[in-house]
């Protein structure tokens, strides 16, 4: 995605290896370069980066508000970049909705009218759209506020209206542009919780933009870190935290409360290591069952490590990590726990890859692949199966 004069030239120059600063000196801004992302259905995909990193631009290419200079956006089997303006508007009104940083509520419409806006654009009759708007507002906890005006609501409530407006259209894809950034921390947390709560039942596909890594870690099934218009890393929260792709990502993760992000599964060692050791009470630990019995606590793989400190401190036996069947799959030793806090590269041994928690391959995938300028030519020939879309910026 290139802004400025003669964007096509800039794309060619990028393909030839020019970097962003060179272009900027010439008055063109390459906002998003070589960004390929793929979002699966039902996933919360977080794009994280500092301001100016191109994340908002990337988001706006996904619903066609901005058209990529090069590359494609494929959504639900359709190439959005090739749609006519009219068809694109139809897709936006029915399948993609958006929540904005500063809420973007229409001040001249009541809460209900705001929530019903998307439906109004679709041409849904008044009675039905009000009914659906009522439902959406109820879902976001605003029952009883329908007749109020946006300026009578607090920031958090306003954003709930924004969310209700996005949900009311029943779109499959929800684009959230720093939606919680303007809220104060407590409200932000509430909203995050509510979003996660809603997501449990609604199972929307969400692309969430934030500059707050904590938020990214909390919400994101998958996180893309952007810098200077390029994606520097895509992975799960642990991946980012534990295996930062470079110093930039690492420095980014410095302030993250790792104890809440890292899970037992991420730092555990093989349970076999415990076998043969002696418990404080003198018992030998010979089998995994012994281990489970002797361990100060048995936790699931998803347990954040913040919950492991107390058990670790009361016993020399590592905390046991069990799978859903109750079988011990790993152990967390106190020293490892501490090592994990000192962010370096995750301790002596690379942790076992986290088992896939994602659902089985979706029958329908939302994949946004931002091909960079260099790959531009290849993008359309991408071998992605039908149902995937690639987008280039």
């Amino acid at each position: 995605m290139v802004f400025g004069r003669r964007p096509k030239d800039a794309v060619r120059r990028l393909q030839e290896g020019a970097d962003r600063d060179e272009l900027r000196a010439e008055g063109t801004t390459a906002a998003v370069i070589d960004a390929s992302i793929e979002v699966d259905e039902g996933q919360i995909f977080v794009v994280m980066g500092l301001s100016g990193s191109g994340k908002s631009t990337l988001l706006r290419t996904l619903n066609g508000l901005l058209e990529p200079t090069a590359g494609t956006v494929r959504f639900d089997g359709e190439d959005l970049t090739s749609l006519s303006a009219k068809d694109l508007r139809k897709v936006r009104s029915e399948k993609i909705s958006m929540v904005f940083q500063h809420f973007a509520l229409f001040p001249h419409r009541s809460v209900l009218e705001n929530a019903a806006y998307g439906l109004e654009v679709q041409g849904v009759p008044r009675a039905e759209r009000e009914k659906r708007a009522y439902e959406a507002l109820e879902l976001t906890g605003l029952k009883g506020w329908e007749k109020s005006w946006p300026d009578e609501l607090s920031g958090g409530m306003q954003q709930r209206v924004g969310l209700a407006r996005a949900l009311a259209t029943d779109a499959d894809l929800l684009l959230m542009d720093e939606s919680f950034s303007a809220l104060d921390p407590l409200i932000r947390r509430d909203m995050q919780d509510q979003l996660l709560e809603l997501q449990k039942t609604l199972k929307k596909t969400i692309v969430f933009i934030t500059h707050d890594l904590n938020e990214a870690m909390r919400l994101g099934d998958k996180i893309a870190v952007m810098r200077d218009g390029r994606i520097v890393q895509i992975g799960s929260a642990e991946d980012i935290l534990v295996r930062p792709a470079n110093d930039y990502v690492a420095s980014f993760t410095q302030d993250v409360d790792r104890t809440r992000v890292l899970t037992a599964g991420a730092i555990m060692t093989c349970a076999d290591e415990v076998l043969g050791t002696t418990a404080p009470d003198g018992k030998k630990i010979a089998t995994l069952d012994d281990f489970l019995a002797a361990a100060p606590a048995v936790v699931g793989e998803d347990t954040p490590i913040v919950d492991l400190f107390t058990p670790c401190s009361v016993s020399t036996v590592p905390v046991a990590v069990a799978d859903k069947a109750g079988k011990a799959v790993g152990a967390v030793r106190a020293d490892r726990l501490l090592a994990a806090l000192g962010e370096d590269d995750g301790g002596p041994a690379a942790p076992a890859p986290r088992p896939a928690t994602d659902p089985a391959p979706a029958d329908r995938l939302t994949k946004a692949a931002a091909a960079d300028a260099k790959k531009d030519a290849e993008a359309p020939e991408d071998n992605d199966p039908e149902g995937k879309v690639s987008a280039g910026a």
């Binding site: 508000l65 508007r89 909705s97 904005f100 500063h102 973007a104 001040p107 806006y117």
Partner: protein, 869 residues
Amino acid sequence: MPRIQIGSWASDAVDWLTNNAAWLFDFVTHVLNGFYTGIHAVLAGPEPLILAGIFAIIAWWLRGLPAAVLTFLGFALIDSIEQWDETISSLSLVLVACIITIVVAVPLGIWAARSRAVGGALRPVLDLMQTMPAMVYLIPGILFFGLGVVPGIVSTIVFSMPPAVRMTELGIRQVDEELVEAAEAFGTHPRRTLFRVQLPLALPTIMAGVNQVIMLALSMVVIAGTAGGGGLGGSVYQSLSSVDVKLGAEAGLSVVILAVYLDRMTGALNQRVSPLGRRALAKAQAALGGMKFLRWKPATSLATVGVVVLALVAGGMGYFGKDSGGAAAGNDGHGRSISLGYVNWDEGRATTFLWKEILEQRGFKPKVQALEAGPLFAGQARGDIDVQSNAWLPTTHEAYWKQYKDKLEDLGAWYDKTSLEIAVPSYMKDFKSLEDLKGKGSTFGGKIIGIEPGAGEMKILKDKVLKEYGLSGEYKVQDSTTASMLAELQRAYAKKKPIAVPLWSPHWAYNKYDLTKLKDPKGAFGSGDSLHMLGRKGFSKDEPLVAGWMKNFHLDEDQLTSLENEIQTAGIGHEQEGVRAWLKKNPGLVDKIAPSSHADYAKGKDAGKAPDIGFPAWDEGIATTYLWKNVLEKRGYKPKLHNLDVGPMWTGLSTGQIDVETDGWLPVAQKQYWDKYKKDLVDVGPWYDKTSLEIAVPSYVKDVKTLDDLRKHKDEFGGKIIGIEPGTGEMKRLKSTVAPAYGLDGFQVTSAGTSGMLAELQRAYGKKEPIAVVLWSPHWAYSKYDLTKLKDPKGTWGAENHITSIGNKSFPKEFPEFHGWLKNWKMTPDELNSLEKDIQDAGKGNEDKGVQKWIDAHPGIVDKMAPVK
């Protein structure tokens, strides 16, 4: 640095547009005029108080009860101070201008907001429109659109457009981009985004722009007044130009009431039409308690019902109360409209309203307009004003006259006792003459407060008067305006401070203040101007009757002063009543000034009688006979004309077949007939005595002055004298007496008749050949050619003839009235010559038209020739 001729380019462009784009301007004028007339008709229809009631309901709807009460009181006050009509005119003008401005400006603003290029291109244009002084384009506006409301509307649109465009652009740009993006993100069509999101949110700003438009439009109304826009602007302008504080205060107050009303209403309109405004209003009202009824506003539907009810009442009253309209007062005009313009000086107002009254009595529909000299001349040059009554020529309005004289007609001066002078208050006892000013510069602060720099008097004052009296270094003439000069005079006069101002007589300042006209012993100011009536080009052709009246119009000093006084007494807005009062004291004056061409000719006593009038085919015979035919017809006679040779005519007269003829040349030329038939005839009485018989030669034949000379130059003339009909007295006299006395016997005297003689004369004259013709006076040939009457020192042509009317002896009994008229009838050589020429110009068969034209140009002539009691 070479001179860049921007000014002349602009002037050329204006000329070019005036000449080539007239259709466009006419179209615009037509549309705007129609628009204005429509709105004005609606607003001016209802009774003032009912319309005030409608305004009050609107105020109630928009702002609540107190505003409604104040509105009603305000408009009632306007009605009370007699500014209602003006206010309605101004309101109509403002409404038309604002509606057009908004219809154009809002889309333009939207376009500018959506396209940077348009916005950028528009900005300098808007700057130009906003900052260019309105007076600069008002004059071209007059050239394009004529006088009246249209240039006012156009200037107002130009002036008030920029804020509307800017505020619209700003309003739309100000709408949070995220909101627009949100609308887009939900798949809203751009047009819908504009109408459902951007415009509603920009509406408060746009309404602020509309408010600005209305305020600016109202401020332009005053300027439009100087271009004949009328309304309150006209009142304000009138008060300015005559330092009429009373009128100024009233008109100014009306402007203020109108402005405050429009301002508050448009401000409040925002709260009614824009959702955001409604929100803010609801909030504000929720916050207030108590006295709720003051803030209670009727719902829109209720207010509409109220307005409709009052409108119906107004309509009903208009329908039933319609007066049947005065009976047609006269019939010369047949309702044709004549627009009279004047510079708002006393003598201008006086004559203009006098003429308005006169023209109304004569069945015209005159309109009067006070204007600045510039717009007045420009408008008249364009044909918008038919007549202006107080052009000061040749000095004061010289510049305008020079510029526009091709497009104007001078209808002549009607007053010439004017003078230009420097005046000082008479409490400055030592100053009696311009010479007294010398060395006293410090008394006056070295200043003479002048008038408009373009005025002729200023030029004379600066170029001549100061120099001749040696005041050049000592005094500085300050450019100003007449109004400012007069205000300055009033200020100084009130404080008894020294002041010297250029002034002119007649001027009302001399009545209001005790002033000394400084004597001008060196005559540096020159002789005074005359006050001229100027017609637009073609006016005397279109309205020969009126032009004729005006050409003969004259007022003396007493008349003018007394007329001005009556008008002054009647007061502003009642000028015509003053005129009527004055006319009452001057009975018969209207008939004298504007003798009606037909309608009100009283029938003669013998009306219906049909005298048989004979006439020879001689010019004066034709002329006078047709003149009398017309006069008699106006008096109800049915004259029958008989064109006869001289012999048969006299015979007819003697037998009574012919009752009368007007072309008897006695005692010489037709002596033989008279002698023969006189027992059956009466000599009614001569009407012309400056006749002579002669031989004439073109004056380019230099050496021939007398009949003796003719003989000496016989060869040059080919030995020929071109004669007329052989039987006439003159031919006989030539042969029997004249020729022998001067030895002209050798000349061959042709006898081809009068017309042959005249044709020969014209032919020779064209080739500058010598020719000698038998001629007589009066004859139009003397006005057409430069001829020398050959002197007859021996008096051989005999005693001079007079022309007399000859009647059958029964004529005095049968037509006593006609006989009396003929008996007292006289004509001057000028009258006869001009009559002959008019008939000649009208062409054969159109004698009546020529006569009518001449009668029109000689107002009162019918009453003079054929007086009835």
